[in-house]
Symmetry: C2
Subunit: 343 residues, 2 copies
């Protein structure tokens, strides 16, 4: 396979000129350029990326690390994100290195994976997803001066680029909608407290109640544990909520997997979604619209977030000033038929 000096030799120029033909074509005289190009064509020469990466000390590659799924498939959250990221990478001519790590991995081990990636300089930037409370990974990335963007916010008092979805807004709008239908007994089933977005959403729930002058009842909320099957947790959770002596009549559930369980639980309890229990699901999974009744959902613009996140990161890598490197996206309440009008 031909290399750059073959091309140089045959086209009777220096390697520097061949290199310029690729990287600074305007610097080489048209006639020379054409001659070199012919030889490039003839030899079917293509610059070796590893060599290029080495000498430029950059890779035009970004990385995304996500946890293995327990369900032998990528969470659809990542799936949407990936769709956005790969699209931008394609546009901007960047590559995406995808890594995954075992679920429920030891936090220290997870950090090691990040460290390894940073230190080997395999990528120019990293996309961090699902920020946690006191997320050590963010500290690591800042300490090592690695370029990165976070999908999610942080409680740490640090400046860094992030994109997030306004869960507080989303949930509070759901509460407002339920309240407008006459609901006051509104339950909430949330995700584990250690994830930043859980806090945000729970806050939205409380804020939403307050705004609608509904008293907060701690018996009406439930936070799923970190481990275990999401569907099961949803099922058990909702059954617990419904077993109260004066149970909620509406439930907002944070996450589509949990929601699957919640629906199952509601049916198991002998109730029917939309008639006996109103339901809103944060995160509009593909199937929500196809259920009977179709589930009123809060749709997260994860795909857009993926595009943003990668665009911001690549800009940062290229040294392009980015005016908005902190973006909060609004989710959408999509009203379908799972909530009963009590008025």
């Amino acid at each position: 396979m031909a290399n750059i000096s073959d091309v140089a030799r045959i086209s009777k120029v220096s390697v520097g000129t061949v290199s310029n033909v690729f990287n600074n074509p305007e610097k080489v005289k048209p006639e020379t350029r054409e001659r070199v190009c012919r030889v490039i064509e003839e030899l079917n020469f293509h610059p070796n990326l590893s060599a290029r990466n080495l000498s430029r000390l950059k890779t035009d590659t970004i990385a995304l690390i996500f946890p293995f799924s327990k369900r032998k498939r990528i969470e659809h959250y990542y799936s949407d994100l990936l769709a956005g990221i790969t699209e931008i990478c394609f546009q901007m001519n960047f590559k995406l290195l995808l890594s995954s790590c075992p679920p429920n991995i030891d936090e220290k081990e997870e950090l090691l994976i990040y460290k390894k990636m940073i230190e080997s300089r395999a990528v120019d930037g990293i996309i961090l997803t699902v920020s946690k409370y006191n997320d050590e990974r963010i500290n690591l990335l800042i300490d090592t001066k690695q370029k990165f963007v976070v999908f999610g916010r942080s409680n740490l008092p640090l400046e860094f680029p992030w994109v997030d979805i306004d869960g507080k807004y989303g949930i509070s709008e759901a509460v407002r909608y339920l309240s407008s239908l006459g609901h006051t007994r509104i339950g909430y089933i949330g995700t584990p407290n250690i994830l930043m977005f859980s806090k945000d959403r729970l806050e939205g729930y409380k804020y939403g109640l307050k705004r609608c002058n509904i008293d907060f009842n701690p018996d009406f909320i439930l936070e799923a544990s970190v481990d275990g099957d999401e569907v099961e947790k949803g099922e058990n959770g909702v059954i617990r909520l419904l077993s109260h002596n004066s149970p909620p009549k509406a439930i907002i559930v944070s996450g589509s997997q949990l929601a699957l369980g919640v629906i199952k639980g509601i049916n198991k309890f002998g109730y029917s979604v939309g008639r006996d229990i109103s339901l809103i699901c944060f995160d509009d999974a593909e199937w929500n619209v196809h259920f009977n009744p179709p589930i009123t959902s809060i749709s997260q613009p994860v795909y857009e977030a993926g595009k943003l996140v990668s665009r911001i990161l690549i800009k940062q890598i290229k040294g392009i000033e980015c005016q908005d490197s902190n973006v909060l996206l609004k989710p959408d309440l999509i009203i379908r038929e799972s909530c009963k009008n009590l008025n």
Copy 2:
């Protein structure tokens, strides 16, 4: 940032020895090794991957190229596959380069993307997915001597490693099951004919009928077109089938997106799945079990295929003899409640 010669200088050995500490630790005397390791630790040295890749002329990286989704998310088929692939990559210490390309891209342009990837030697191997009839990509990969594995078989008379799911078996089992419930009027809604797996499944349908002594009725089959929304195609398709003057009483649908439309269409037609129309879906999407009634499905071991495909590819790259580089996986018929027993 420290490099290998810094380490060599400070620990008073040659760069070769430092390199050996990493790559052939058994070749260096324990005392020396320890001394070098201390310096490595001190300087927080980590070999630069680009340099390593360049001098070894390999990257320990494989690539997967998949089409953008029209639905702003990765098809769950790829999602399962990715889960398997990334898991093996993690285990085998390989990296995965993920690329996507616009949907319905010109075939020539698609080939260019593959060419670019091959010629830049950015990866050591490529995973090709969803083989097509007369798939040019396979020719390209063979011609360029690129290492690769295909998820799917080919009609081309070529030898190459592949993993596939036995669609013929899956569909014919579905037919057999329906027949055992007393069904004889069995329709089939398939995916576009250009995809290899479509042919396979259709064959399964015909074979299944024959085996059960059911006459093949061309009016009962429908092949979805290449473009357009899958759900819509399913909906329109099933309505067309049901509008016949003696319509099928059972339908096998090839693909979960199509199935969503089929269910919608059945309901729209005023029929009810499991009562008026029996339904089997090839591909057990996450939601199938949660529908009412739960959909009897043929579950594809895509996650396992992902593991296999990457394992085979990596072995090939490493030059490890692989006894079984052509694997046909059997899908599973999961009986739920969408088929009526006519007996």
